[in-house]
Amino acid sequence: MPEYILELRGITKLFPGVKALDKVDFQLKAGEIHALMGENGAGKSTLIKVITGVHQPDMGEIVLDGKKVSFKSPREARQVGVAAIYQHVTAYPHLTVTENIFMGHEKMKHGFIQWKAMHKEAQALIETLEADFHATDLMGDLSVAQQQMVEIAKALSMDARIIIMDEPTAALTTGEAERLYEITEKLRDDGAAIIFISHRFEDMYRLASRVTVYRDSKYIWTRDVCDVSEADLIQGMVGRELTELFPKPELEIGDEALRAENLSRTGFFQDVNFKVNKGEIVGVTGLVGAGRTEVMETLFGVTKADSGTVYLHGEKVQIRSPQEAMKRGLGLLTEDRQHQGLILNWGIGRNITLAELNQFAKLGVLDEKAERATAKTLAERVGTKANTLFDLASSLSGGNQQKVVVARALTSKLNVLIMDEPTKGVDVGAKAAIYEIMGELAEQGMGIIMVSSEMPEILGMCDRIYVMCEGRITGELARGEATGEKILELAMKKRVASEADTETEETA
Amino acid sequence: MKRKIIALLLVLVIALTAAACGGGDTTPAATEEPTTEATPTPDATATPEEDDDPADDGGDDDLTFAIITKSAGIPFMERMAYGFENAAAAMGFNAIVQHPVDTTAEAQITVINNLVAQGVDGIAVASNDPYALESALQAARDQGIVVVTLDSDTAGSQLFVNQAGVFEVAQVLVDSVYDMTGGAGQFAVLSATSVATNQNAWIAAMEEIIAQNDQYAELEWLTTVFGDDEAQRSFDETQSLLVNHPGLDVIVAPTTVGIMAAAQVVLQQDSDVLVAGLGLPSDMLGLVGDDLPTPYMYLWNPIELGEVAAYALAAFANGDTDGSVGDTFTSITGTTFTIIAAAPEVGIVNAQIIVGLPFRFDGDNIEEWAQVY
């Protein structure tokens, strides 16, 4: 039996405009829980997709049980016992839990599906996970956490030898997370090798025996967990000293630009209170599924809040649609640039002017010359690297695409700009440019709300930081007192814990 | 470059389909057994015709007459067109047959415009609408084209070739009911579509006949339902009639589609209701006879109707008549037709000629006529 059950050597994967994996190595021992740590966009998800056969590497090789393999599809990977539990669960909402578990490897008896046997086994798996739903429930009716349990049950049902868990505890309560730890350990004791991807140091310390760190799609190092300190981890994950990366201008903060008072929307967020002043950059952070994007969409008028009020410059406003928000000077740069931010098969010029077409029209008739002129000045102001205004948005790199979206926001006279994960999937060079634009806008008196789950960015750029967890604001930190640990700790403070916890300030 | 190749390909495809259909399937094969593939030449006359360039009125013998039926897919209309063609051929003229895509006036108008554009010499049309064709037919007549109507009339025609007098048809239908019910009983009418001009004319005439003489006093006319000339609807309506009116004795269906459907239902449910009306022998083979749902039925010879329409066109074309009432003309087969007055109250707006009396089909002659039409 070779020392490593799975080995990746010099794996490189290119996507248009960005190098997702750059000559990456990785070794996994049998019966080991191996943690994978790294910032968003460091290439962790791409690595998993390469191992599970969703993507094929451009260079390098994968060695399984000492033999060189290449998976053309996830089905092939699954057949040799590689199973993955993704962060965004890919399930069949209309079908029952049992079917979701057994889809692809149903229990058959001369051609017919054995429903009773499958339901029984599925129920047994659910019981081992002590999940609070039934095998015959519809997948669509389950919460994200419950769906994740089903994914785990799916892996168990395939008695996979290598199980990959991508941010499994992100949407779980502490109780559910604890149960997940026990199950993961039981899997390891049964001989499975587990790759565990997470932001949370706590998961890593609790479970993993070894940890590998990635940064900017490059392999950094692999060490035993026992001789790794948190500082080492942050250093490994972030690399540079914080200050040098973030040109945060020191500005005097103006009066209040936007305030939300116990804003809530059933099922997404509850009693959210926060405010942002002119010239201030406010960070909103938390784990995946904490409801940050949902809050911003409600502010911007895409969705309707069930209760709570919003004040712009102290004046109570009722924003029912994006165009109303923009009319009142509130802009939003969406998290999913590709689908919500840009029209990919349009040129960058037309993308930039899309939001304020009336500016370039007399009596409804478009003046294309004026439109092109504005687009050119704005595109250059944000430093978009493109040959002509008519280059397709799809042909630009992640960073450039974000600059185009920022340029579009500049066409409206905004005084509050919400930027949702502005530097997600963006290479380091472009990140710095985006931070500079942010600084520039703040300098002009704009209130900036930056939603991000990247610690360095939050710590480096924000004057004040709100931390959210499971739809609630669990804490507010000023620029000076904020540290990585404090934020993480607030990000995991569940409602249950916070009620019991009476002290106000947690010591570091 | 690739796109241009594709475009050229597209033009080629269109050219091929257009050329392939150039021959067009305009006429059912002249022979008795309609073969499945379309006959290549537009005019199926037996005698070889030199290339017919339909110059307006060239020599007497190369006139081109066209017939427009109600729509494709109705056997009665096929037989009528077949008769028209034979008569035209017999007179040495060319014949074009057009079956519009559906029973709408706009489909017929489009065909009329096409024919006018081709410069035909005469048009006979079985109209789908009492008013709509008037302007198109008027435009044709302005180009010197002779226009007659047959089977169902419309304004704008010079003469209506009436297969049988409306009253004669109504009379035989009422007599059938009288005979089948033994003088007293309940009957209902299963008609085609609610807007079929000839159906409504016969129904109006039947009402008048029953009202005028008390001989038919005991005949109770329960209702009139519409089968839309569709097999399934006619089936449904007949079944509803049997269910809604247990005391029903006779169903009268003055439409070839309706009578067949009604007879089928009666046969399948072996109900003792009798079915009378107008039906095509070839359709009704197996349904007409002594112990069958339809003891006897009436119709006229559609082939004869088509022939007379051709003769009428010829008569107008070579000036034998100008269509005024009282005028007469004789066809090359020697039968003379006298033009009689219109009958607006039953929907006949033009002067008309009567082809003949309705012909009776029963158990013994159905076999023989089923071969003819």
């Binding site: 911007f300 250059e380 790199s397 | 033009v11 257009a18 259909c21």
Partner: protein, 339 residues
């Protein structure tokens, strides 16, 4: 801290190539248009007789009127199956009101109002039930509107509309060989072309068709645009009903059947993508005349109308397949030099 944003100049004027790229599908279509006419000319001698040519052009332009707004529906990535039924309902009520009030002006206004209402109902349902696709909603209203027309018409057909001299002339009147209706259609087509390509409303339709979510986040009122387009389609059905009644003089319940297929075929042949967001209006105008003259040419050859339907159906499928296959051939756009 050197200034990280390197200001690079971007060329703003539209590249020559852009024009060529847009024109490519129109060029192929123009070729097809000329091809159809050339074939028609030598297969039937009097194809070029102006009078007959325009008479027949008039007949398919009544259907063409409905293809104009259908192009907008397709641009939004939607489809309106209820156009034929809206035409018959509008025409029916025109006939009813005219016969009741003896005033043709009132009749025309009714037709336009009914058409707009039918379109607005489609739009309203689509706004209130965003989850529903326009296809199933307009499938329902297609049956409903034609059913209402059938109920109102009942046993008789409303008729006699051509007795009003000026109304009949709406369709028949000619300036020289060219009918007034033909000029009216061209003017209307020009307006539709201008709105689609040169106005804010047009650009918004392109955006919604290309990426509805991105349009919504860019502050475009997607629902209101959709409502306007479907109401406009209804209005155009009303206009088509007016000209249809002026042409036919009477209305029955099988009028306008198949209008939706013809309209979609014209738009798709004209280069409109069925996924939305792509297509040019000149293409649609050329396609309307190409299909119309193809049908006229086949008519002159006395081709059985059913065979013409086979050709139109087959043409619609081949064109869409060609568009999709052609999109696969196109090589991926070269990425701009990434940083």
């Amino acid at each position: 801290m050197e200034n990280v944003i390197r200001r690079r100049s971007i060329d703003a004027n539209p590249p020559r190539g852009l024009k060529a790229r847009i024109m490519r599908w129109e060029f192929a279509l123009l070729l097809l248009f000329i091809g159809v006419n050339v074939i028609n000319m030598n297969l039937s001698p009097n194809f070029l007789n102006a009078h007959h040519l325009f008479t027949n052009i008039n007949t398919f332009l009544v259907n063409g009127l409905v293809a104009l707004p259908m192009a907008y529906c397709l641009l939004l990535g939607e489809i309106d199956l209820s156009v034929g039924s809206t035409v018959v309902l509008s025409a029916t009520l025109l006939g009813i009101v005219f016969n009741a009030t003896e005033s043709m002006v009132l009749g025309i206004l009714t037709a336009l109002a009914v058409g707009t209402l039918c379109g607005a109902l489609n739009g309203l349902i689509l706004i209130k039930f965003r989850e529903l696709s326009a296809m199933i909603v307009t499938l329902g209203t297609m049956i409903l509107y034609r059913g209402l027309a059938e109920r109102i018409l009942g046993a008789e057909a409303t008729g006699g509309m051509r007795t009003v001299e000026w109304f009949a002339n709406l369709f028949d009147a000619r300036i020289g060989p060219v009918p007034f209706f033909f000029i009216f259609f061209c003017v209307l087509a020009g307006v539709f072309w201008f709105v689609m390509h040169k106005t804010v409303f047009g650009r918004r339709m392109f955006a919604i068709g290309a990426n509805t979510q991105a349009a919504r986040y860019a502050g475009i009122n997607v629902e209101r645009t959709r409502f306007t387009v479907f109401t406009l389609t209804g209005l155009m059905c009303g206009v088509s009903a007016v000209f249809f009644t002026s042409w036919m003089g009477s209305v029955r319940n099988n009028v306008g059947e198949g209008y939706e297929l013809e309209a979609i075929a014209m738009c798709v042949l004209g280069g409109m993508s069925t996924a939305g967001g792509k297509g040019t209006f000149p293409g649609v105008i050329i396609a309307i005349f190409t299909l119309g003259l193809l049908r006229f040419g086949l008519g002159l050859l006395n081709v059985n109308p059913q065979t013409v339907r086979i050709i139109i159906g087959a043409l619609l499928i081949t064109v869409v397949v060609l568009q999709n296959v052609q999109r696969l051939f196109k090589k991926k756009p070269a990425p701009a030099n990434a940083s």
